[in-house]
Assembly symmetry: C2
Homo-oligomer: 202 residues x 2
């Protein structure tokens, strides 16, 4: 399997995290989405939606959308229990992430990192909606260790990608102790260094 | 099954369309999301995410997120083929809808209908991203009758809800003949009157 991705993208992190966790082999092909790498005719032939990540199988079949990829690669593994109700609750979090979390939080991170702007330059709408999303997660995690009660799943992987970077977008994680603890648990489960540890590594 | 929904919401339409198509019985409970109906303690106990639609089973279990509901109610029906690759391509469209279509198009519709503002008051970002989304669908439908090659599925239902209303948000459907034809096909399949027919009905 080939994975076309941009190392700076949380959406691409999701796919790496899941494949590494499951021990599934893949070749990573770096695509610079900021410099037009997702707009070339070759790339658009793989994904007409013009976005990374994309996975490609040896027979040429391609699949895009990070959460759709998570669902596909996790089929039949512990990351996606077969129980239909558990699977539905995983979907609930993943569609919520796609619709109510990623756009707002990733947008603020992008503003303050790639675009080099300041906290006050962030879109007020994205700040408000991003804070709402993080507060919803904080409240849920007051009574749960993982997003879905059966344990660590692709719902956690879908949400950890941008949540662990939320401080880079100016969101205050110190206000959200349960969420911070969940981020730590996910990073431990995935064998990741925290963003802070990674920054401190020479 | 109870469905909590707001009749004006395209996300709630998705659930109605699927259940009616499948002939699954349900009781519709109208919730006025504009007037705070999704912020009451009773409603938040059903869906802490504070949004319609929500489905509730007789044992009290609740599920939110329109596309997660579509996946759940379509399990084992012709609207969600069991083939894993077909299912993955359906997910690809549904996550794309949640992340790249709904927010932009529904936002423009809301601006020009509920909020009573004019075309020029729409967010330029939402207009641009909405047009991009409709153009991607138009290009895909140049070589396909349905979003996924096997036929009419929940991917079409997820996308028809707001696409058939896009003109109410100031988007020009006359520029997109393939998309218009797909809207007609979906409405025919679902036994719906078109938005124009409905408006002309006394």
């Amino acid at each position: 399997m080939k994975v076309y991705g941009d190392r700076r993208s949380g959406n691409c992190d999701k796919v790496r995290f899941a494949l590494d966790y499951l021990g599934q082999p893949y070749a990573w092909i770096e695509v610079d989405s900021v410099q037009g790498g997702t707009r070339t005719p070759e790339f658009l032939a793989k994904n007409p939606l013009g976005q990374v990540p994309v996975i490609e199988f040896s027979d040429g079949r391609c699949l895009a959308q990070s959460n759709a990829i998570l669902r596909h690669v996790a089929n039949g593994t512990q990351l996606l229990p077969t129980d239909q109700w558990v699977s539905a609750k995983i979907d609930e979090w993943m569609f919520w992430e796609a619709n109510n979390h990623e756009f707002f939080i990733a947008g603020c991170i992008s503003c303050m990192t790639y675009m080099g702007m300041s906290k006050s330059d962030r879109s007020p709408m994205r700040v408000e909606r991003g804070n709402q999303a993080l507060d919803i997660m904080e409240r849920h995690l007051e009574r749960a260790d993982w997003l879905v009660e059966t344990g660590f799943t692709i719902a956690d992987i879908a949400l950890i990608a941008y949540t662990r970077q939320a401080h880079l977008g100016g969101f205050d994680m110190n206000l959200r102790p349960r969420l911070r603890a969940w981020v730590d648990r996910c990073e431990h489960e995935l064998g990741l260094k925290s963003e802070e540890e990674a920054a401190a590594t020479p």
